[in-house]
């Protein structure tokens, strides 16, 4: 499976993203970076099929070898899905099987416990209590399962939304889309989330994550897409894009390569500690 954007123009209110050409690889983590208002959330919503391409195409394509899997996807419209399909035209129940989406600011249903909220991920499918339990454990909220979501902290509620996305996974799931997951997480859960995203990629999913956290991006990215002012400023393998000479002009702050325990050095934003107030 590949997800391909061809000259896609995406409108989100007054904001226009594109035209963009992009391809997301399966079994890889693609990190989307860029300044505020650059189009990260718009791109992620388009990837999730929640915003249609106004012009051009945003298509899911199935290769020959995987057509059998496409047939399993749905009894009624397997034929249309076997070749390629505009992702925004997929019906909601097929979408639920194909992809999981965690928005930047997840919402919770009033009065719902953590477990009931996570179970909502299976609303269009067969209930699956073991999978729900697994999702709760992987996100570290199993102990909170009977708490009301409204009583939790923002970071914990983020984990509830992520657990719902994990609970939603089926054998057919191809995409995991997560919008700025780390902004409310402490370092230990940021690390756990990074491991979880890598794990999902290793199981063959195309994982797509928007973030401002460059240490996090450097740790998980296979591919990087940098968006600025609704256009692709840079796209390619992480090693090529996460470098000072590419990131500096996009974000307008100095970046520096930092040696670190893992194999690859990280490219992090760094500026002089003294900030001139004038």
């Amino acid at each position: 499976m590949t997800l391909k954007f061809e000259q896609a123009l995406i409108r989100n209110g007054n904001f226009v993203l594109g035209p963009i050409d992009l391809q997301f690889r399966a079994a890889a983590v693609t990190v989307v970076i860029g300044p505020n208002g650059g189009g990260k959330s718009t791109l992620l919503r388009a990837v999730a099929g929640l915003l249609p391409a106004h012009a051009g195409h945003a298509r899911l394509q199935w290769g020959q070898s995987q057509s059998a899997r496409a047939d399993e996807l749905s009894t009624t419209s397997a034929r249309t899905l076997a070749g390629e399909m505009e992702i925004a035209k997929i019906t909601p129940s097929q979408r639920a099987r194909l992809l999981s989406f965690v928005p930047q600011r997840p919402e919770s249903v009033a009065g719902f416990s953590v477990r009931t909220s996570v179970e909502l991920g299976r609303v269009a499918m067969r209930a699956d209590a073991p999978r729900v339990q697994l999702a709760l454990e992987r996100t570290g909220i199993a102990a909170l399962a009977d708490e009301l979501v409204g009583h939790l902290s923002e970071g914990q509620r983020h984990r509830v939304a992520f657990a719902r996305a994990l609970a939603q996974r089926t054998a057919q799931t191809q995409l995991l889309i997560v919008d700025e997951p780390t902004s409310a997480l402490d370092p230990s859960w940021t690390r756990a989330l990074a491991a979880e995203l890598r794990h999902n990629a290793s199981e063959g999913l195309a994982v797509i994550v928007a973030t401002h956290d460059f240490a996090f991006a450097g740790a998980i990215a296979d591919d990087v897409v940098a968006l600025a002012q609704g256009k692709i400023a840079a796209a390619g393998r992480a090693m090529e894009i996460l470098t000072p000479h590419i990131l500096q002009p996009i974000f307008n702050v100095p970046f520096r390569m930092v040696e670190h325990l893992a194999a690859n050095p990280l490219c992090l934003p760094m500026w002089n500690g003294a900030i001139n107030a004038s």
């Binding site: 019906t91 909601p92 979408r95 919402e107 009065g111």
Partner: protein, 332 residues
Amino acid sequence: MTARREQLGWICLSFLLMASIACRFLVGRDAIGQWTFAWPTSDSIEWRAGALISAFLAGAALSLSGIFLQTLLRNPLASPFVLGLSAGSQACVAAAYWIAAIGGPWMLMGGAIFPATIGALLALAVTLYFGRGKGGGIDPISLVLSGVIVGTVAAALASLIEWLLPLEMRPALAGWALGRVPEVPEISVAVITAIAVFTATFMGIRNGSTLDAMGLSEDESSSIGIHVARVRLYLVLGSSVLAAVATALCGPLAFIGLIGPHMARSCVGPRHRVSVLAAAISGSTLLIAADAVRHFAPASTGRLPIGVICALAGGPFFLILLRRGAAKAWMR
């Protein structure tokens, strides 16, 4: 909400329903207008049963309409009264009376249920049109605001039409507009209301988890497989028809559609699989109880309109919800 707590909630709700039915059945007025508390005479037994049926059906319909609107808007303050549906029905029924007065008595066939439905749908359509968010989706906050305005304008229209009516027709319409629980409900209205209530309860229970998922943001609910636009359309149609039949039967009643769903959720929890049925029962209980209570008012000037009781009891409840930040808690 544990299973035990839910069980307790059901027991509580059934007890309250039974108590309110018993109370309404035993409370009455004697020949000089003093209230009595005794087994009804053979004359009045039919009237009290009729009033019970009216209140049971209209209360359930209003409360179901309320829970659907609250789900649609993800807003605990929504109800058919707040969004102008009741007033819309009222205005169209008043218009039907006016047309009937100038020579079209067919307008009032079936207890004006048809114009009431048109009115509720029109009011909700206008409310939705002006309450739409930028992206074309429904923005809960502007929707409630525009609902309040639509309701006010529609109520004023109803008064204007009432003022245009020939004098001899005004009392019937004015009495209805204050809210009443008919002791001899029109059979057609009662049957249609019963069908609407039964269908709505059945569909609500059957699609409980879909309605649960409507509590998430639009992006989330459509990514977990909910056909958001379709579910919204069903909720709009369902809540309009329910509000309309209740209004045709009992007049525009405030706040039953607001308190009913809250009472249901506090008893059996927020999952629609259980709270839809509980909301119907709560609404019935509330309206039957209100109908019983009004008999205790001094009778020198005739019976107290039921709408007064509903507004007096429901208004403060709305304010308490507002004070407790219910709307904010819901949006988190």
